[in-house]
């Protein structure tokens, strides 16, 4: 069977799961770009270039890094913030997985059941999923590929995601820092961030404290 390339969409009313098209997840030490398994190091460079080349690069941190359920997570969350600052990238959290009714606050949250709404509203062209449970990430990644032109990157702590355009596996603190270092290195080599200036909103328990400009 021919290789199924996982590209930014919009692909179809209902795009297929890449695994059902024969795409196989990378082994430890590997990643995939567009469905093709590559050495992990190759993926850092590609991911960093995609982030720097995007107008609205955004990190979607999920519950696994938003809730401090162990000390390691706190370190990881800090590293994610540093990654966002280095690029720069916006942070829009996927705090929980419940569908948002009657309407999602697209500026400040994303939901796996209708991630396209947040991406469309904010014109997000490159995103990184991190700390999202694998099932919910895959649910979301297919919907994004189906209806948006956003390039999706997954920094998965487990086995990776075929449904992302680019996916790491076993992503830990070291790997997050390595992606940050790769971005920093490219910038030092003259690759400039194309991100549109923005003000990162800050959330408090009662809602948004600092709204985006």
């Amino acid at each position: 069977m021919s290789h199924y390339e996982v590209k930014a969409g919009p692909e179809a009313f209902l795009p297929p799961a890449a695994a059902s098209m024969g795409n196989v997840l990378p082994d430890p030490g590997e990643a995939h770009i567009g469905g093709k398994v590559v050495p992990e190091d190759e993926a850092y460079e590609k991911a960093a270039r995609m982030v720097l080349g995007a107008k609205v690069p955004t990190i979607f941190p999920g519950p696994l890094v938003l809730w401090k359920w162990n000390d390691h997570v706190a370190e990881k969350a800090k590293a994610i913030r540093e990654l966002a600052l280095e690029a720069p990238m916006r942070i829009i959290p996927m705090a929980d997985y419940r569908p948002k009714y009657p309407k999602i606050q697209q500026e400040v949250e994303i939901n796996p059941n209708h991630p396209n709404l947040t991406i469309w509203h904010n014109k997000i062209d490159v995103c990184i999923f991190i700390g999202v449970h694998c099932h919910m990430a895959n649910l979301s990644l297919k919907i994004i590929r189906g209806g948006t032109d956003c390039y999706t990157i997954a920094m998965c702590a487990m086995a990776g995601h075929e449904d992302a355009c680019l996916s790491f596996r076993d992503a830990d603190l070291t790997m997050i820092n390595k992606l940050k270092a790769t971005i920093k290195k490219l910038k030092s080599e003259g690759v400039e961030s194309q991100a549109i200036p923005f003000t990162q909103f800050v959330m408090g328990r009662s809602g948004t404290i600092v709204a985006p400009a």
């Binding site: 519950p63 809730w67 569908p99 796996p112 297919k142 990776g160």
Partner: protein, 414 residues
């Protein structure tokens, strides 16, 4: 779909479980699956299939097992009760019905236990609603299905029709031919089903009585080692708690709203379950040494089967060989995922493909016909059902008849 995953090495990525190397309360050492099967010394034992299920569960680090009597799995379920009494299984009780059992299994799995149960025939059908629920909830529960008739008038005898009903539940469905398969599939099944990229339930099926109630020689690892326990932190889906973050899926507003968003979510969810089944290939192929076994598949006549139909076919092939008719064999080990590419490749030179089955529906033949080019090559049969045996001579007769060869008229033999 169905890209072939290459067999790099035997075994899968080694467990990193924190309890690896530690001892459980029975003094068994938590051991990586690769070491259990490929390093530990195996000792032959002469056991019934039911006893084999007991032997497997004894070293499977099962948290919860729920039982309900239905022939031919009752003995196995009772033997697991013995293991509970001896301290090898943490929780064990009898459910109110098969439907209740499968719901109780879901509860235990949601709670983070490795869960095992057994059922058969009408029990499988009564429990059916739970199987896609398990899959949709990403619960890696294992049910051993000791196949028997499902029809009225009541039959307790072997018949594989119930497997047909399991095919689109989102579960992995494996079919053991022998007691050895049964032991291996139970242990390896837990490991494959619990991989974070798979994490769906598994039905390890065997033919009731033919496997469960006959004795066979089975190589077993020592019982002072056992599987590493289930690790709920590798679950790709948080527990579907109705009220608590992060999932709150079951609470209003539920995903079941009638709007496009809801439909797209459900569609993507279903795709993800099927994708998870596909991902299991990567882990299953090295552990089972491929999804199929092949013998002489360069021949023009092939038999393709699963379960004990394979054993009967082996003997039929020997009988045909005595008459100078050369026949190859394909044994299918996993029905879900279905070994599409493997079967296409192995049958590419075949002119006649026979699919003997212990059911009248011929579901396996249908599956094979659906994936093969020139599928008029596939002969649907021979079939038996309702507990009939399938004598090797019947397979021989059917093949010869189909090939236009002379066959002794039934009733005039001797």
């Amino acid at each position: 779909m169905n890209k072939q995953v290459e067999l790099k090495n035997k075994g899968i990525v080694a467990s990193k479980h924190v309890k690896l190397g530690q001892k459980n309360q029975k003094g068994q050492t938590y051991t990586d699956i690769n070491d259990i099967f490929y390093k530990a010394e195996q000792t032959p034992n002469f056991l019934t299939g039911s006893e084999v299920i007991r032997a497997a569960i004894k070293v499977a680090s099962v948290g919860t097992s729920v039982a309900y009597p239905i022939t031919p799995q009752s003995e196995a379920a009772a033997l697991i009760g013995e293991l509970y009494a001896e301290g090898y299984v943490d929780e064990y009780f009898r459910g109110e019905s098969e439907f209740a059992v499968m719901g109780q299994c879901a509860g235990a799995a949601f709670g983070g236990h490795r869960v095992f149960t057994t059922t058969a025939g009408p029990g499988t059908l009564r429990a059916m609603e739970n199987f896609p629920m398990w899959a949709g909830s990403r619960l890696p529960i294992q049910v051993c299905v000791t196949c028997r008739g499902i029809n009225s008038p009541l039959s307790i005898q072997p018949d594989t029709l119930e497997m047909h009903y399991l095919l689109e539940t989102g579960m992995l469905v494996w079919h053991a031919e022998t007691a050895q398969d049964l032991f291996d599939f139970i242990l390896k099944g837990f490991i494959v089903a619990e991989q974070p990229d798979v994490h769906v339930p598994i039905a390890v099926c065997c033919d009731g009585f033919f496997v469960t109630h006959t004795k066979d020689t089975v190589d077993l690892p020592p019982d002072d080692i056992c599987l590493t326990p289930y690790d709920p932190y590798r679950n790709p889906q948080p527990v579907m708690d109705m009220e608590s973050a992060p999932i709150r899926m079951m609470r209003d507003p539920f995903v079941m709203k009638s709007n496009y968003i809801s439909y797209a979510t459900h569609a993507s969810w279903q795709q993800e379950i099927k994708a998870a089944v596909e991902r299991s290939r990567k882990h299953t192929i090295p552990l089972l040494d491929g999804l199929i076994d092949e013998e002489n598949t360069d021949r023009e006549i092939l038999i393709v089967g699963s379960g004990t139909a394979v054993s009967q076919s082996r003997e039929a092939i020997r009988l045909l060989e005595e008459e100078g008719i050369k026949v190859g064999l394909i044994k299918i080990k996993t029905i879900r995922p279905f070994p599409t590419e493997e079967i296409r490749r192995a049958t590419k030179n075949a002119k006649h493909i026979f699919v003997p089955e212990f059911n009248l529906a011929g579901w396996l033949a249908r599956e094979i016909k659906a994936i093969l080019p020139d599928n008029e090559r596939v002969y649907v049969g021979p079939h038996v059902a309702g507990g009939m045996t399938m004598p090797s001579e019947v397979i021989v007769e059917e093949i010869k008849k189909h090939l236009g060869m002379e066959v002794a008229t039934r009733g005039t033999l001797g």
